[in-house]
């Protein structure tokens, strides 16, 4: 394994609360956030918009079943 990222078994989840005015806006902001983290391929696991913004968990799979796993590389 060459990087810390390579040690992740399967997925990296990001959970937080962002300020926004609607669920579509939250989705847009989450996409931009993940893009900025270099995790363009992601999926929103949960998203709950209310009041000041959205509580969300978004996931980027780094190793999916059947892949050539990064954690098996020397």
């Amino acid at each position: 394994m060459t990087t810390a990222r390579d040690t992740i078994i399967d997925a990296l989840d990001v959970e937080s609360f962002l300020l926004c005015e609607s669920e579509p806006e939250a989705r847009e902001l989450i996409a931009k956030l993940m893009q900025s983290l270099g995790l363009a391929r992601h999926v929103i696991v949960s998203l709950d918009f209310n009041g000041p913004g959205a509580h969300f968990r978004v996931r980027a799979y780094l190793n999916k079943p059947g892949d050539n796993y990064t954690w098996l590389k020397e």
Partner: protein, 642 residues
């Protein structure tokens, strides 16, 4: 040895009070200083009391490093440090920090009294069972007498099982034949995951298999979404598993109860990903794991071999894959390989038994009306699988996930009890597996509108009233109550587990927090999160039980009555198999129907004593013909897939 306990907080000294009480139980004289004192006063008190050891505690976390550095400086100036041993503790303290500052040791919020004892005596062995816990494999299931206690229920069950046994007497199937071939081959094969050689599948075996299995062995074609794992990948994986085993400190979830044991299901598609998930689950307290195979595997005659990974749900059952999983398991982990619902039921039971899986899963009813397999075929294969389970001393569980399709619980339970009684007749140990779910029938009837406790309570109480079989709710508990939000999901799993603990069941199968998330594979972090929730919930309830509401008594009686009505109807049917086709244990109106895979593949046997395979000319089978009496053909080596 006299111990001085000194709080460095203005008010918080509960931790030191707790340690004092426990150390005094161990026989150590202790002196606890009051809060709001200076370091100089601690040094003076230690000298005056002629203490052998000082524990200095600081609850508040910020700035502890600088604070304890000053403690060391002051005590050194006083001639205390170096003369009297000093250890430190607090919310932000651990042994590593303490030793880096030159103290005897350190304790934090999760330090046990055994570890403090070991520190005092400078004897790590005193805390070895805490720092290096060893879990022993439990005898599972727990003892039961397997007796049906309600005479009416027993009468129907015995009638049904008598008829079922008569029905299968002169029948066999390609699945049964393959199981016999495989069992015979396994007697001579020594599998090694380090240098794997595929099982020597024969033409005789392939004659009993689907063309896709023959293509795999003869033309090296894998099914779509499947690829072969290289031996290099296996070697690298085994190194990682060995590392994980080296650092393994298993947790115990049950707090002060002995049951329920906690199982998780795996079947990500890849045996190596499964293995890593298993290591996570074992480390976070799971007692057992269940192997789930892909749906296509259940509808294919014959098994492939080699290390195969599937890009979709369900990990292919092969001798190699199961061997790799076995190599990944801790010695204490209970392992179940499900055989129950498809065309390879007896053969998978053989592989599971041969590889030392402690458990398997067989339910003819579920597999017939919900799993897509023809009832006649699965009845023949299911009975054989139960015989195999008995021979290998593998208890088998009987899932009732037909409830998820809409079958009412009383019908699902009637089918489950028939399987249990059949299993006992065949000398096996059956385990009832009611589904604790918010299933379609319960939703439509509004039986869980007020809570998730009462109807689940009634289900388990009904089964406990009827018979003393082991009960292992699944699969997983809380099905259809989970949410994509992680905390909600962990909470519902943990609370269902607590309910099961109250009901005294033997085990539970639990979901990860990704249970309701369907847009990607389950994650290892989701498994750990769910087990955290269970651990805390078991800690919260301890031995306190959940008390059922007022509806439970009536619902329990209604369930028992419904079960008996269903059993009566099945007993009156021409045969158990006819009852399955007729929908007496679940019909189209409920949401299920007889499966078609393996239809017309049952073979009538004429004479098992004649020395041949006992196969008569095919009367019911329309697919490929039986192998007949041909001499044992040459082996076909498995090779890499294209």
């Amino acid at each position: 040895m006299k111990i001085l306990l000194a709080p460095l907080d203005p008010v918080h000294d509960a931790g030191l009070k707790l340690i004092k009480r426990k150390l005094e139980v161990l026989g150590y004289p202790c002196v606890l200083l009051p809060p709001d004192i200076t370091v100089e006063e601690i040094g003076e008190a230690a000298l005056a009391e002629k203490a052998d050891l000082i524990f200095v505690g600081r609850t508040v976390g910020y700035g502890v490093e600088q604070l304890f550095q000053r403690v060391k400086d002051v005590l050194t100036r006083q001639g205390v440090f170096g003369k009297i041993r000093v250890a430190i503790g607090g919310m932000a303290v651990n042994d590593e920090l303490a030793k880096s500052l030159g103290f005897e040791g350190g304790y934090g919020p999760h330090t046990s009294i055994e570890e403090i004892h070991a520190l005092i005596e400078r004897n790590p062995e005193l805390a070895r069972h805490i720092t290096h816990p060893v879990k022993n494999k439990p005898e599972f299931p727990f003892p039961h007498d397997y007796q049906v206690k309600i005479p009416e229920t027993k009468k129907y069950l015995d009638q049904i099982v008598d008829g079922l046994m008569d029905w299968v007497t002169d029948k066999t199937s390609p699945g049964v034949r393959r199981a016999q071939i495989t069992e015979s081959q396994l007697r001579t094969v020594q599998g090694s995951v380090e240098n794997y050689t595929a099982l020597p599948f024969t033409r005789e075996y392939l004659a009993q298999s689907d063309p896709s299995v023959a293509d795999f062995f003869q033309k090296h074609v894998c099914p779509p979404s499947v690829r072969q794992i290289t031996q290099d990948e296996v070697t690298a994986y085994l190194r990682r598993i060995d590392l994980a085993k080296r650092n393994f400190h298993p947790r115990v979830l049950q707090h002060d109860r002995t049951k329920p044991l906690v199982f998780i299901q795996y079947g990500t598609g890849c045996p190596m990903m499964d293995g890593m998930h298993i290591k996570v689950a074992e480390s976070w307290g799971a007692d057992g794991v269940l192997h789930f195979d892909p749906a296509w595997g259940a509808r294919t005659e014959g098994l492939m071999d080699g290390f195969l990974t599937n890009a979709e749900d369900g990990t292919p059952v092969t001798y190699a894959n199961l061997s790799l999983i076995k190599r990944s398991l801790d010695q204490a982990t209970l392992w179940s390989v499900r055989a129950h619902r498809g065309l390879n039921t007896p053969e998978i039971a053989v592989l599971a038994g041969n590889l030392g899986a402690g458990l398997t899963k067989i339910n003819i009813v579920y597999g017939s009306i919900c799993g897509g397999t023809d009832p006649a075929r699965l009845t023949v294969d299911g009975v054989e699988a139960m015989r195999i389970a008995a021979r290998y001393k593998m208890p088998f569980d009987i899932p009732t996930n037909e409830e998820l399709a809409g079958v009412p619980p009383h019908k699902a339970f009637a089918g489950m009890l028939i399987m249990a009684q059949l299993g006992r007749r065949l000398g096996a140990k059956p385990i009832l597996k009611p589904l604790l779910c918010h299933g379609p029938y319960l939703m439509v009837q509004g039986l869980m509108e007020q809570n998730y406790v009462d109807y689940n309570f009634a289900k388990i109480r009904a089964l406990q009233t009827i018979a003393d079989f082991p009960i292992w709710p699944g699969e997983p508990i809380g099905f259809m109550t989970h949410d994509e939000e992680k905390v909600k999901s962990a909470a519902t799993t943990a609370l269902h587990a607590a309910l099961c603990a109250s009901l005294g069941v033997d085990a539970v199968t639990t979901a990860s927090t990704d249970e309701a998330f369907s847009r990607g594979p389950i994650t290892s972090a989701g498994r750990a999160a769910a087990l955290h929730g269970i651990e805390e919930t078991f800690r919260f309830f301890g031995q306190s039980d959940i008390v059922p509401g007022p509806h439970v008594k009536d619902w329990t009686e209604q369930l028992i009555s419904g079960i008996n009505r269903t059993l009566q109807a099945v007993a009156a049917s021409p045969s158990f198999v006819d009852a399955l086709y007729a929908g007496l244990l679940g019909n189209k109106e409920d949401g299920v129907y007889p499966g078609r895979a393996g239809k017309n593949s049952v073979i009538a046997q004429t004479s098992l004593k004649s020395g041949n395979f006992g196969l008569a000319p095919v009367t019911m089978r329309k697919n490929s013909g039986p192998a007949g009496k041909s001499p044992r053909p040459p082996a076909i080596a498995a090779r890499r897939c294209r």
